[in-house]
Amino acid sequence: MHTPALQVIIPLIAAPLCCLLPKSRLAWLFTTLVSLSTFAISVLLVWQVHSVGVIDYEMGSWPAPLGIKYHIDSLSAFILILISAIASITLLGARSIIEQEVSHRKHALFYTAFLLCLTGLLGIVATNDAFNVFVFLEISSLSTYALIAMGRNRKALMAAYEYLIMGTIGATFILIGIGLLYMQTGTLNMFDLHDRMPIIGGFNSVHAGFAFFTVGIFLKLALFPLHQWLPNAYTFAPSMVSVFLAATATKVALYLLYRVFYTVFGFEFSFSTLHLGAVLLPLSIVAIIVSSLIAIFQSDVKRLLAYSSLAQIGYMTLGVSLQTQAGLIASMINLFNHAFIKGALFMCLACLAYSIKTTSCEHMAGIAKTQPWVAAAFVVGGIALIGLPPTAGFISKWYIVLAVLETSWWLAIVVVLTSLLAVVYVWRVVEQMYLCHPIDNIQQGTPVPMMLLSCTWVMIFLSVYFGIDNRFPVRMATMAAEVLMP
């Protein structure tokens, strides 16, 4: 079976085809079909991983250390299905709003860039070659810069530029890390690298490589204090790009974190020899608190959600920093659930951006009267973000607090209390939507297209569904954690 390769090359081949397509609508249809097929393949992969175990695929039939190997284990399959599912849902609803937000002659290029971004993200997860990771990272990043720059506001250009500078520095740091490791080991295959770690673990260059990896990944992950690029990028990107990025981009960076620090360097080296946990823990807590506090004071809801994403990233890295299997599982479950929740919330904002052409909080006053379905979706998504039962957010919170409790109870209290800050910023918007009077009466807004609205509700449904039946994410996360921390 060629599923691991197909997973990546289908969108890759589709991208140039897409830019040759003449009509915007055709390009959309094509892109959507492609992303749906990647989703189908990822489902197949999950099923294969479930029945066979690990799947290896050698590119060009070159054996592993020499050639590039694709390696799908439960962790990769888990993230792959997440990315492709989000991409499919996003694209299904995207047509009308992209026609509104992106200038017409750029449509084919927009979808091409989207496909390339998808390729990059899927590739990072599928490949087992360190340098290949860098290449896919840059494919996804470069297309992301282009996607963000297509935003309607001219600030989008500056946001994309900032992201480009920071993203490139981050990726280059990762490249240096790869180089330093290669220098010591002469291999780029992740498992090969890991096998040689005991021999080379003491070298200074490996330590330096570790440091470069750490900074590079933190940059891509937008972990405090390296998060400056993220809020602007999410705020000014076209609405659907925000949905996709918020739900997937940082998640893939987190995947990279798992891979590099658990698979390549190994748990022992990363956490016992070099104390990554001691760096991650304070940073995560500061990220949670500071970002949540900043989110409370944002006047633009899109930016508010961006800061909330930063806080959520903090929860995910917090799980990692606990250095336990329970923490790792919690981190992965949060990764999965948060992707749907935040995707759903950004989707709501896309609906509103379509309808009233703005996402600023004050313009949302009384929107519940004109757009009841969107407002209701936002409320449900918000409840999930806060982490109340019976939504997916509650499951994440449950596992995180449980994992934190294993380590220390005061930290658990801190985590739980800071999570209450989410109540403040979510409810500020909800009150604005339901309990305030519109600032101008003419603000009726265009009706939201059915397709966009139903995709929003699919996301909302999923973020509730995974709160009621969480067997899939929990099982996958548990299996993945067992792979990473045997």
Binding site: I386, V416, V474
Partner: protein, 483 residues
């Protein structure tokens, strides 16, 4: 019908009611019928569950594993039946009252209102029949969220602020303390099931049991213990049926019910007594009981006074639970029912007065008894019941509570109960007395009762206060099954 179906039905009927109301939101007649019908069916279901008798107590009905191997599970036991019975029977009365009130006061967004009401009821039934803490917590939060729109119903600044305090406090306590303590319990005992005798025996040191118990009870913000009581008066901005059902019956009783349930089935009475883990909560409850009464005396707004009275009365129940003797537990669970009946009558009266005269201030209610004789008569009956004087039902529960305090050797607490009773008289009776003295000249008033749909429910509940007094011995036998 099997127990499984019935329990599921008790959750699904209100939910189905909510869905039907949502679908037929444009037809006000239909939603009213559906609203009342779902309440009636729910009461029928509760009675059917009750009719199974003691054979089915503590039979767990598992749906499917929710988190890890903790299932979404339900069971029936006497305590839950009391709560479910009280809530579902009073819900039926309230539905009629609510429809009358909402129509008489020309409130808007009725479909949303009734829908949230139904979902809240689902939360209540879930709490009543939950077989483990996780299930309980989930429905607890469903109740919190679904009542938020009810509190904020008027959509003005006052409602917004009230609702904000309501949600803020309830979520802070439930997530900040309750959830943490649940997780802690899970970590210590690897079980969250409600088990007779508790699940924590010998798992924690005395000191930590004290911390956990305090944390958990304080986390149940719905029980209205000080200092987390502010949401109760804040939520009084809601339309009166909401205050009546949710803040005399469903929400606050959900709080004290949770306290009772964790006392009996998580910590276990013996454990609490042997470790003295209950002492902090006992004193917090006693202080709340007295302070809230004192504050109530100063309130001029009738609903606010009733709200503080509720805080004080809830503290009775928490105190009864925390004393952890079998007598006090019986007293507390009895008080859960008796106070519900009494307080809902009082709220109904407040709503009826508001509907008929638009008066909310107690100062303006002098000699209102001549204007609204039935309402004020009902008020007097309910007030006497709350105070705890025979021949009203409240006297029974108060008797057992004081007995419980005495039997555990806490003379101070028994005295506190008595002082509180005196305070009850001070803040409840003057209204009733003032209503019937100073008969004004006939030109200054006219006979002006609230509409029938408001008057009948409040008369019914007032009668219930009286009737239950004579039926209580039968229920006492039933309540004694609570270990």
């Amino acid at each position: 019908m099997s127990l499984f179906t019935l329990i599921l039905a008790s959750l699904c009927v209100p939910l189905a009611g909510a869905i039907v109301i949502f679908l037929s939101r444009r037809f006000s007649r239909i939603i009213e019928i559906v609203f009342v019908a779902s309440a009636a069916v729910l009461l029928f279901i509760t009675v059917s569950i009750f009719n199974f008798g003691s054979a089915i107590y503590h039979q767990t009905v598992e749906l499917y594993p929710l988190i890890g191997d903790i299932p979404l599970a339900f069971h029936v036991e006497p305590l839950g039946l009391v709560y479910a019975g009280v809530a579902s029977s009073l819900w039926l009365v309230t539905t009629i009252y609510a429809i009358g009130y909402m129509n008489a006061n020309q409130e808007k967004k009725l479909a949303r209102f009734y829908m949230c009401f139904c979902i809240a009821m689902m939360g209540v039934m879930g709490i009543a029949f939950a077989a483990n803490l996780l299930t309980l917590f989930i429905f607890y939060e469903i109740l919190t969220i679904s009542t938020y729109p009810l509190v904020a119903h008027k959509e003005n600044t006052e409602a917004k602020n009230g609702a904000r305090a309501y949600l803020g406090l309830l979520l802070t306590t439930s997530i900040g303390f309750f959830l943490v303590s649940i997780l802690w319990t899970w970590q210590v005992s690897h079980s969250l099931d409600f088990t007779i005798g508790g699940i924590l025996a010998g798992k924690l040191s005395d000191g930590l049991t004290l911390v956990l118990f305090t944390l958990m009870v304080m986390g149940i913000g719905k029980a209205g213990l000080m200092p987390f009581h502010r949401w109760l008066p804040a939520a009084m901005v809601a339309p009166t049926p909401v205050s009546a059902l949710l803040h005399a019956v469903a929400v606050v009783k959900a709080g004290v019910f949770c306290v009772l349930k964790i006392t009996v089935y998580i910590f276990g009475i013996e454990v609490l007594q042997s470790t003295s883990a209950n002492m902090i909560i006992v004193y917090i409850a006693a202080i709340t009981m007295l302070l809230a009464s004192l504050v109530a005396i100063q309130q001029d707004n009738l609903k606010a006074r009733l709200a503080y009275s509720t805080i004080s009365q809830l503290a009775y129940i928490v105190l009864g639970a925390a004393l952890a003797t079998s007598v006090s537990i019986v007293g507390a669970s009895m008080h859960l029912a008796t106070h519900a009946v009494g307080k809902i009558t009082l709220f109904f009266c407040a709503g009826a007065i508001y509907t008929a005269t638009k008066k909310t201030s107690i100062k303006d209610m002098r000699s209102i008894g001549y204007q609204m004789p039935y309402t004020m008569l009902a008020y007097t009956i309910a007030a006497i019941s709350i105070i705890g004087l025979p021949p009203m039902v409240g006297s029974w529960s108060k008797w057992f509570l004081i007995d419980g305090a005495l039997s555990s050797g806490q003379i101070v607490l028994a005295v506190a109960f008595l002082i509180s009773t005196l305070l009850n008289i001070v803040y409840l009776m003057p209204i009733a007395i003032n209503a019937f003295i100073n008969k004004p000249a006939s030109t200054e008033y006219q006979y002006q009762e609230a509409p029938k749909s408001l008057l009948i429910p409040l008369c019914m509940t007032a009668l219930l206060c009286l009737l239950l007094f004579f039926l209580m011995p039968y229920f006492y036998e039933f309540l004694q099954r609570i270990p």
